[in-house]
Symmetry: C2
Subunit: 355 residues, 2 copies
């Protein structure tokens, strides 16, 4: 579809970057990059799978953009894919846990809901964040996703429903957790001066960075902030010559509601510790000062892990093109995407703008 | 160890490229790049896992070299790792099979020994290749590996032993198959003009290419030649301004003996169909016209899948530095490494030379 949208023949593609987290575990197929590329008619060129947990296709996109910017290639496809629903839920949880620190936290019984529950609990302790703040993020993202025809779960929920949801890992209820989804997304990357050959509505990468940190929570300096996200944000802002104040809308990695709250703080959308009230007061809602996850986010649009980073880029581009329909933001010149791997061991931040 | 060898501090490393095929399946740990990097003291920079089946670290090296050559980074580590022996053999075979076409050939009962047995049988039919030709490759690589202190299986074998080996997939005996190994390798990549800061004995990348093809054998034009290897070889030769005749020694991907024979043909070391006699006559032995796999190859040095591509580069560099001891080649100015993913869906060819 991205090839059609850009009037590209598969034979024109010079390299294929595929983000996929755990295809071998979910469906048994490894060596996925040439496999998927050949199905799309792309062959003979470098076809490579990038794995960085839930930031796999964010990382594929980062490396693809870097290669095109450096003049290595002119026409690159960066895609992401994950098929998760073929496994039963306990096995999905186990596969997802392999993105955490196996020897330490996972073998001790932690799963990702448990890890993010600890982050939420500590954020509550340090900053007074409440369950209502978390639930406000869920209500907002479900309301956004309800307007997105491509969302996985189009379902409006109330604050009361979110608060009364089944408890998964205290204080996170089922409504604080993102979805187990199947999905794919792809982006075509070309040099700016050639963009008009392929589309009448290009978007421009203004800044991009990938960074890393330790896997285990107990090895991080703090668990209420992600150092990798802050560092990636700073690098991307610097490359773009922009600051947080310039970002008009964003797709943030809401694998859990607390993750979106922490991201709004780490990226400088609001002061540290104020991400909960910031969301609850409507700043990140459609019509608010800086809409976040107008796609519905991982909560409602869905979280096919390896596809999420590329899908975020697609959603930012849809907004920049003014093609978001009912969920269109008013100020759509500059958008930011933030993709998180595991509990913050990988972070990719991209700032996109109108050409 | 590669950091020590190059007098590098971990904080100087600007990006970390890790090749790993199936860590999640072998040991349960995914998201391996920041995990391994942090253990080496590298953090905060892009740390990314590259997966391209048995060519995973060949691909990591290709992308790292490309990034340094394009001026994106100055100091990059490309590494590879695989820990295979923690699983029982039938499970290892199953995990390796995930690099083939799952829906077609693997679910039909094929494993990698079976796929390469078909390649060998067809090569015999088309070109008169014999079991003695295959066995000659095994005898040679075991003789080479016997001289390599770092080899996994240091064991001399005779032609008679190789021919009388336990049949795995007719015509391939146990001696035609590479090893199930644990291992890791790493390479430091810097711009040529900075090499003297880090080592007195640098090697230079003269040419490098990664290419792709269909996964399934029945979708390839021929199964007695790997189109991806030929294409990668042609590109690498062109980049280096060299031809096959200029290559003095090589590390070729002998996952099975037939694979080394086909590679010597596909890379132009000998005419098509003559790879068997070429090996049997000693051309590829130490002291021969063009020694191949002086490390012992995947047969004797071992085949920790995700580490193999990076290990091949290390072995070429050891020869170029003149540090190969008993297995040192006489003409060590130009060496070639060929890394194969699956049954040829990915190929990486690198030509290295003295600075």
């Amino acid at each position: 579809m991205s090839l059609q949208d850009s009037h590209l023949q598969p034979s024109q593609v010079e390299a294929f970057y595929l983000g996929n987290f755990a295809g071998p575990s979910f469906v048994g197929q490894n060596h996925l990059a040439p496999y998927v590329a050949a199905a799309a008619g792309i062959s003979g060129v470098p076809c490579t799978r990038f794995e960085a947990a839930c930031a796999s296709s964010g990382s594929a996109f980062f490396h693809a953009v870097t290669a095109v910017a450096a003049g290595v290639y002119d026409i690159v496809v960066a895609a992401g894919v994950e098929k998760m629903t073929s496994q039963p839920t306990p096995r999905v949880t186990e596969i997802l846990a392999s993105a955490g620190d196996l020897g330490g936290e996972i073998r001790a019984g932690a799963t990702f809901p448990a890890l993010f529950a600890m982050i939420a609990r500590r954020h509550m302790y340090e900053y007074g964040t409440t369950r209502e703040h978390l639930a406000a993020v869920a209500v907002k993202n479900h309301a956004h996703g309800f307007k997105n025809p491509a969302a996985h779960l189009r379902k409006l929920i109330t604050l009361e429903q979110a608060l009364a949801g089944k408890m998964i890992a205290d204080p996170l209820t089922i409504y604080d957790c993102s979805l187990v989804s199947d999905g794919a997304a792809a982006v075509v990357i070309v040099p700016l001066e050639r963009a008009s050959e392929f589309t009448r509505k290009p978007a421009r990468v203004l800044g991009i960075a990938q960074t890393s940190d330790h896997l285990a929570l107990d090895q991080k300096e703090s668990i209420t902030t992600f150092g990798a996200v802050r560092a990636a944000g700073e690098k991307a802002y610097k490359m773009a010559g922009l600051s947080a104040a310039d970002v008009q809308f964003a797709e943030l990695h809401d694998c859990f509601t607390i993750a979106e709250i922490v991201a709004t703080e780490d990226l400088g959308f609001c002061p540290k510790g104020e991400g909960g009230p910031y969301a609850a007061q409507g700043a990140t809602s459609l019509g608010g000062a800086r809409p976040v996850n107008t796609s519905g986010g991982l909560k409602s649009k869905g979280h096919p892990v390896g596809a999420t980073g590329a899908a975020q880029i697609c959603d930012i581009v849809i907004q920049i093109r003014g093609e978001a329909g009912e969920r269109q933001v008013a100020r759509n010149e500059i958008g930011l995407a933030q993709n998180l791997g595991g509990s913050g061991a990988t972070a990719v931040v991209t700032i996109l703008g109108k050409v």
